[in-house]
Symmetry: C2
Subunit: 257 residues, 2 copies
């Protein structure tokens, strides 16, 4: 008996979300043609944001014509997580996967990078597993792993910890906790920040970390203006630093033993 269910494809997006128009790389510079081809034929989507998904699909259409017009595609948005509310149980998400249960392949996409990694979507993927829907993650850019590779810090053991607390005392305590963990486990710790707070986070890291700790900052990866800088906190203290507020920035630290 063949499985009549469709598959759930996790479709990577580019990393230029929110960047100045005109500074985007070509789609084929950052996504494999095979991925663009799959995206072009999918008629059913679950998206972090329907509007940016339509914009993405127009870029796809310019490389590989879409099987259906953008207007004809079924694009449903993921329910937004309410702060403090319990996460949605997989059964609540099953209706979003109805097309797959009826035999149609579906796409899951976020606003930037891989869905379900530092982005919404993992609850839907879990629901797909529970419904026996095959999940296929397609390769594409991840700012986290590109930043880690470009940092030169330990890539054999690393953790992504998301956002740090905003409140100063809690943020300082968290920075020291991550540094202690990094030292104990020889583990690189990666974090991100809301763009307009990037400089404040860099300042807090420089102020609170030990002088010998390695600190890396990667900005605008995959874009023309991309750069990565890795130096000890002592070296960072010796200069002044501006960070862009219109491109993704990833911070990484590795404490000495």
């Amino acid at each position: 008996m063949t499985n009549p269910r469709g598959k759930l494809y996790l479709v990577p997006n580019t990393l230029d979300f929110g960047c100045a128009p005109g500074s985007e790389p070509e789609l084929q510079d950052v996504l494999p043609l095979g991925v663009i081809r799959i995206a072009a034929r999918l008629g059913h989507w679950v998206a972090e944001n329907a509007k940016t998904t339509r914009a993405f699909l127009k870029r796809v259409d310019a490389v590989v014509p879409l099987a259906q017009k953008v207007q004809a595609l079924a694009i449903v948005e993921l329910p937004r997580a309410q702060k403090g509310a319990p996460k949605l149980a997989p059964p609540k998400l099953a209706p979003l996967l109805a097309a797959a249960l009826q035999g149609h392949d579906m796409g899951l996409i976020s606003e930037a990078g891989l869905p379900a990694v530092a982005d919404p979507g993992s609850d839907l993927v879990q629901a797909a597993h529970e419904l026996g829907i095959e999940v296929i993650a397609l390769p594409g850019p991840s700012s986290l792993l590109l930043a880690l590779a470009a940092s030169g810090l330990n890539g054999q053991s690393f953790a992504f910890v998301g956002y740090l607390p905003v409140e100063a005392t809690a943020r300082c305590a968290r920075i020291r906790e991550l540094e202690a963990l990094s030292s104990r486990q020889a583990q690189t710790q990666l974090m991100i920040e809301t763009p307009y707070r990037n400089e404040a986070l860099l300042a807090a890291l420089i102020m609170n970390l030990e002088a010998a700790t390695e600190l890396s900052v990667s900005c605008g990866l995959t874009m023309p203006q991309a750069y990565s800088r890795t130096a000890t906190v002592a070296q960072w203290r010796a200069g002044t630093h501006r960070l862009p507020t219109d491109v993704p920035v990833v911070f990484s630290l590795l404490a000495s033993k």
Copy 2:
């Protein structure tokens, strides 16, 4: 004054290393055309393995003709880390970057996936930063992040911990330590194993983890036979499981609070 140095490109490789010949995906199915174009013009390489790099470059040549014949390329192998020996200090690696210091762009490549992530190369990247050589990580497939996305486990906080100890008592202790850490931090823990030990690791995880812990196994990502399965340990215990020994496998766990 313009910077006369070349750049160090971190070039992703495919994930089909060691797989049965004929089962490899097309290069354009897994790597962006922009990345293939850059690889085709680089004349100087530092590689985990020179032979597999030449094989990779022949696949590149079939899509975008190489600027020079493969035989004419300078491909230098990374020194292998000696077990127990201290890692090489960046100054020792500087000679490998001589071409960049002379103004030539260079490529760093490993046998599979992104260089310097769960693979050698980070020491060379750090040496590049110290020499003022610009480092540019190019997007491509990472089995770790594809497995994480496909698992449906927490992608907002995760850690890659590499290999577990081989000795049974130490392995069991490490599994319980990772489960406790996962529960405390709500952090997905990812690990890999030498292929012929994949089934032994799965058995050890099923035996030692709590029944309610979520366990995910992803095999052969980006390949035709790819699959991901996520279930509770109790569900894994209810079946028997064979794992392939000729494709990469990534294991992920997330303990309940």
